[in-house]
């Protein structure tokens, strides 16, 4: 029986909800905090921030990551910046405007109360990061500098060259280091969470594989926080790091947590195009480049002249033409789709025809090469190393690539999943970005969840009490560990003929072609059938070398790809069920005469959250209706 989910949004005016909720959350007294153990999985902005802050408050924190150290979580790769409604530029910014931009940017598919809280917390993030020594860019007068990002008409993005994610993550890492030194946080690097242990309906622990020895280990706690990032590598080629996976959240889904809006994926418009079949990933070129870069294609299809030989009159600056109010800084979903439209019409450039130009000639003329180099130098260097072409002289070639996933585990206002005691933060949850995330908002959400929301709501959960103590001797731990062990032994036992990468590549092609930038009923049905076939073949024909009790990267990947082969199907099912276009989810059947996404608010103004019903059983789709009381729901326009 399909359920209506309750997000437990506090009552009262929007602007007061979080303050009141903080006041109403029960507290744990300082001397009692060390008696509670909290497991945090992931050391990115959300996970590391939560672990460090919970440690700072005095809880006993166990923090896990798959990387060799907590300083390498994928937050590190974010380039452009972090949003905050400081209004330092006096251009009319405010908490309300950031809230409005984010809800509109998400195509009216996010939860008002969460987005408003995010917008309120954004300012404190900047203050906190400055206090921790994050070297944000500054003006000559010593104040913080800002730039613009897509989908907004103010400059509210704070940045540290093209390495904002790195600098914010190193801030988190330094806070974590302090707590590890102080003994409140115990860090477990090279540990992969492979399952969740639920006792009496509550999350009470995890099973990990020690990636150095292969040993399976059990950890018990009073609450579990998952902050393990998104699932873009389901497409195989994405801008994510090669170890990013859905395994933690997928295992939690299979233990009873609902998975919300799996089909909401962000295809970022400006990545370096795919070069060949050998590739392991795609490299992003920051959205900040669209502050000064102009996107264009030749007006005539099939025009293969060098860009310098194409005169101004024969170029189509398609974003400026279609969206004069926002120009090159339209949101990501709009820019990506517009690029695809041009390429599908035969106007794409480069060898493959799947690329458009991002041109800095005007910016260099206007600002000079030095200013452009100061703003984007590291990105230009990266581009040149990969493409062997100099973007100061020849326009960059770019094409959309999977980058971020707005979908994730369903959480209520407290970031608590449908399993009590299981909290989900950052990209791993679904809560703040609706059907499309605006640029520079992922870092904002990671920091807000990690530093501010998780510590408060987890304390509230612990303080309400009644949980009792559970140790790893509990039979549930033994049972789950056995299951995990059997699963990994089974992968090794197949001894088939095709590698893990072969299957991952095939899955990625299906996802990109049928569940990518444009989706339709027939394609999605084909995708579901094809993914099932691939999954069947995987467990009969995959070849995983080596042993379980050893350092074995192929085995790690084998487990992750097995999960992607299940998640991919759920994404296609969700996309099939959502008979509308919204944000990053574009159904070819649902568009306006101008080719823009057409929502169906009457039937789909809700979150879809899927419940696992057992392997081989159809999952059940539940809904959380979205109610807009403070914002007028309109057709999104950037014209």
């Amino acid at each position: 029986m399909s359920k209506i989910l309750d997000a437990k949004i506090p009552s009262g005016p929007l602007a007061d909800k979080w303050d009141r909720h903080e006041m109403e959350c029960p507290l744990v007294a300082p001397a009692n905090r060390r008696k509670f153990t909290v497991i945090v999985v992931g050391t990115g902005l959300a996970g590391g921030g939560a672990a460090a802050t919970l440690g700072e408050l005095g809880y006993n924190v166990l923090n896990f990551c798959v990387q060799d150290t907590s300083r390498r979580a994928h937050s590190v790769a974010a380039q452009g910046g972090i949003n905050a409604s400081k209004n330092y530029q006096n251009d009319g910014d405010s908490v309300e405007r950031l809230f409005y931009d984010t809800v509109k940017g998400g195509d009216y598919r996010s939860r008002e109360a969460n987005v408003y809280r995010l917008s309120q917390l954004s300012m404190g993030i900047i203050d906190q990061c400055v206090a921790m020594g994050v070297p944000f860019a500054r003006e000559y007068g010593g104040t913080l500098a800002n730039r613009s990002f897509g989908g907004v008409q103010v400059s509210r993005t704070f940045y540290a060259r093209g390495q904002t994610g790195q600098q914010l993550l190193l801030g988190v890492y330094s806070a974590l280091s302090r707590q590890i030194g102080a003994g409140t946080v115990k860090m477990y690097p090279r540990h992969e969470m492979l399952d969740l242990v639920v006792v009496d309906g509550k999350a009470r622990g995890i099973i990990c594989r020690d990636l150095i020895t292969g040993e399976m280990k059990r950890y018990a706690a009073d609450a579990v926080v998952l902050a393990t990032g998104g699932y873009s590598p389901v497409f195989y080629l994405s801008t994510n790091a090669v170890n990013c996976s859905a395994t933690s959240i997928w295992r939690a889904y299979k233990r009873g947590a609902l998975f919300a809006n799996p089909c909401y994926t962000q295809i970022h418009p400006t990545a370096i195009p795919q070069l060949g079949d050998y590739q392991s990933k795609l490299t992003l070129m920051s959205e900040s480049l669209r502050n000064d870069g102009r996107m264009w294609v030749p007006k005539a299809p099939g025009d293969k002249r060098r860009p310098a030989d194409i005169p101004e009159a024969e170029r189509d600056y398609f974003l400026e033409r279609r969206y004069p109010a926002f120009g090159n800084l339209v949101p990501r979903d709009i820019a990506a789709r517009a690029s695809k439209v041009e390429c599908d019409a035969g106007k794409g450039v480069g060898n493959t025809g799947f690329a458009v130009y991002l041109d800095f000639a005007d910016a260099i003329k206007r600002l000079g090469r030095d200013v452009v180099a100061d703003r984007y130098g590291n990105l230009f260097t990266m581009y040149e190393e990969i493409i062997a072409d100099d973007p100061y002289h020849t326009p960059m070639m770019i094409y959309p690539a999977p980058h971020y996933t707005m979908g994730g585990l369903w959480v209520d206002y407290n970031l608590e999943s449908t399993i009590p005691g299981l909290f989900v933060a950052g990209e791993a949850n679904f809560s703040d970005h609706g059907a499309n995330r605006l640029g520079a908002s992922a870092l904002m959400q990671g920091c807000a969840d990690g530093y501010f929301v998780v510590p408060r709501v987890v304390a509230g959960y612990l303080a309400r009490g009644g949980h009792g103590k559970v140790t790893t001797d509990h039979e549930a731990f033994g049972a789950v560990e056995d299951e995990v062990r059997r699963r990994y032994d089974a992968l090794l036992a197949v001894k088939g003929s095709r590698t893990v990468r072969d299957f991952h590549w095939d899955l990625g092609r299906v996802m990109w072609d049928k569940v990518g930038m444009s989706r339709d009923r027939a394609g999605l049905e084909q995708a579901i059938a094809k993914i099932r076939e691939l999954r069947e073949a995987y467990w009969h024909d995959v070849k995983v070398p080596g042993d379980a009790a050893d350092f074995n990267k192929q085995l790690e990947m084998a487990g992750r790809v097995a999960d992607f082969l299940e998640l991919g199907e759920l994404m296609a099912m969700d996309a099939l069920a959502r008979e509308e276009s919204c944000g990053g989810h574009f159904r070819a059947e649902h568009h306006t005469p101008e080719g823009e996404a057409r929502r169906d608010d009457e039937n789909f103004m809700h979150v879809a959250a899927w419940e696992h019903k057992g392997d081989g059983q159809a999952p059940e789709r539940h809904v959380e209706p979205l109610v807009y009381e403070n914002i007028e729901v309109k057709t999104r326009s950037y014209k």
Partner: protein, 259 residues
């Protein structure tokens, strides 16, 4: 797009305490635009299909920012090209038929775990001694309350660009971690935040560096030459000044050592 054949001489070592050796491999159909790690991927696919053990190596972001990867390629940490990490090295820099030696970063404090994978947690333990500003969440003043001259913010940013890969240690004849430690101490010394703990920080971090078994700096400059993020050796000089200031300040010394 001419395909190349590349010969690789790769360090193989089953475990940290096992004896290692170089093993020769040949990879065909290598394209100039492939990355070095994608060439290793190709080799591993081949080895897996042949029922052999793939070569273990670490990598993650594959765009030069996470600091996970790190190999000594043709005798140089992160390969022959300056200002790049291992994952950014492209095959166009090598010739068809060339033989390339591939080793892990070697240093006493970076024990080998398997093949090309090393343990760099010594860096974390140094950071835990003082590589932070003590600023609890919730206690921060407005971000613009304390203006910071652009030049200082830029210098802090230069030093903060360190990705913690460990190439500086691998390249140093003394296996010194001075560039790594200097970068962090230097970054925080350019900023007003954390000022009160500057001396203590320097003493504690440098003390831990010594305890981990990293060697002293003798100004060879090899670290700066291989650093993919162009961290300047000036940071080591600055680290020394911070250390002396800390050592001369009785309070700092007491806070750091208890003496």
């Amino acid at each position: 797009m001419s395909e190349m054949t590349i010969h690789l001489k790769i360090w193989r070592q089953a475990r940290g305490d096992a004896k290692g050796r170089f093993v020769d491999y040949t990879v065909e159909k290598v394209l100039p635009e492939m990355s070095f790690l994608e060439t290793l991927d190709l080799l591993n696919e081949k080895l897996t299909r042949q029922g052999q053990q793939p070569v273990e190596f670490d990598s993650d972001c594959r765009e030069g920012i996470c600091g996970t990867c790190g190999l000594v390629i043709k005798g140089t940490a992160h390969g022959p090209n300056p200002k790049t990490t291992t994952c950014e090295v492209r095959m166009r820099h090598f010739r068809d038929g060339e033989t390339i030696t591939v080793e892990p970063f070697r240093a006493g404090p970076f024990p080998i775990l398997k093949d090309l994978v090393i343990d760099r947690t010594a860096f974390d333990r140094i950071q835990q001694q003082g590589g932070f500003v003590t600023a609890n969440v919730g206690s921060a003043p407005d971000g613009n309350a304390v203006p910071i001259p652009k030049i200082d913010a830029d210098k802090a940013m230069d030093a903060a660009s360190c990705i913690g890969c460990g190439a500086c240690v691998a390249a140093c004849p003394n296996a010194s971690a001075s560039l790594f430690v200097g970068a962090k101490i230097s970054q925080l010394s350019y900023l007003p935040q954390g000022g009160p703990e500057r001396g203590r920080r320097a003493l504690l971090m440098i003390g831990q560096m010594d305890r981990e078994g990293f060697g002293d700096c003798s100004n060879h400059g090899e670290c700066e030459a291989v650093c993919p993020k162009e961290i300047s050796i000036e940071n080591i000089a600055r680290m020394r000044r911070e250390f002396f200031k800390g050592a001369l300040g009785g309070h700092d010394r007491k806070a750091a050592t208890g003496d």
